[in-house]
Amino acid sequence: MEAVAALERDAELMLRVREGDETSFALLLERHRRPVVHFLYRMIPNQAVSEELAQEVFLRVYRSREKYEPTAKFSTWLFRIATHLALNWIRDNKNEKKQESLSDELIDGAERQITDAEPTVEARMLRQAKFDEVRRAVEALPEKQRAAVLMHKYEGFEYTQIARALSCSESAVKSLLFRAYESLRGRLAHMA
């Protein structure tokens, strides 16, 4: 019930943005900023890039505000834009070897933020190791499988939502997810 109400509020807010209400845009940003940035970070583990792409997502939402029609859930539309930008970025930067070293540099910074919260050095090292392992396992997934898993796991999207975000069929999404989790089970089994 709560989720449905939240979705309706999103559409309502976006309709107000369409009428020129900038405060409603700020509210939508407040609500969706973190999930979008985190999704993009897990797609492309580079904090600077993921935040820049996330800004591009919201910029595109703002740009197309006058044409907005609530035909799909707002979050689905948002993640469709985010997925599209992420896949394009990955495609365009696939061959850049430099990117890998930059990525590592910025991952370290992000990791420090995540692991610093641990009380002991040992706990921090353990968290760091787990983080590395899981990050590598996710990064090893083909991009569409990666996107599907991230939306399924972290956003709790239904198959239909993921299908709309990825512009494919529901059965294709199920196939992507099954293969993705199969890979993840294989790569992470030794951590059990």
Partner: protein, 144 residues
């Protein structure tokens, strides 16, 4: 319930179970099955483990200046729209207005020429009469 690997909906059941999306009846059915099926039990445990391990892939917090940068981009885009479409129009409009004004100022009024012409003719006639009077004074017959 048949084994997950032999069930055409098995993959979906597995995913939905790990994501907590099965209804109560389905959960009971699956958990009952895996108690007696080692293969399915291992698969479900492995899936559950992988799904939960993803929690360790935490993303950093969003930068404090994220919103400021976004709004700066929005403002920049609005300004560049202004520069692209409206800026050239304003000086062109002003130039056109200035030209029209200049043309209006330079064009002479046809009504102004008539009085000037009359004044000149009158001046010429007076001058002529004066000259004739002077000549009269200078002729010998008038001096006598």
């Amino acid at each position: 319930m048949t084994c997950i690997t032999k069930n055409e909906d098995g993959a979906e059941i597995l995913l939905d179970y790990s994501a907590g999306k099965l209804n109560q009846a389905q959960i009971i059915q699956l958990e009952s099955h895996i108690q007696s099926c080692e293969e399915c039990r291992h698969l479900v445990e492995a899936q559950k483990f992988a799904f939960e391990a993803l929690d360790d892939f935490r993303a950093p917090e969003v930068s404090a200046n994220f919103d400021r940068k976004l709004y700066a981009r929005i403002t920049e885009e609005k300004q560049s729209f202004w520069a692209r479409w409206w800026k050239p129009v304003v000086p062109i409009g002003l130039a056109a207005a200035a030209l029209s004004f200049a043309l209006l100022m330079r064009t002479p009024d046809p009504m102004d020429s008539a009085p000037k012409q009359t004044k000149i003719e009158k001046a010429d006639i007076d001058h002529l009469e004066q000259t004739l009077d002077d000549i009269d004074m200078l002729t010998p017959s008038s001096a006598m």
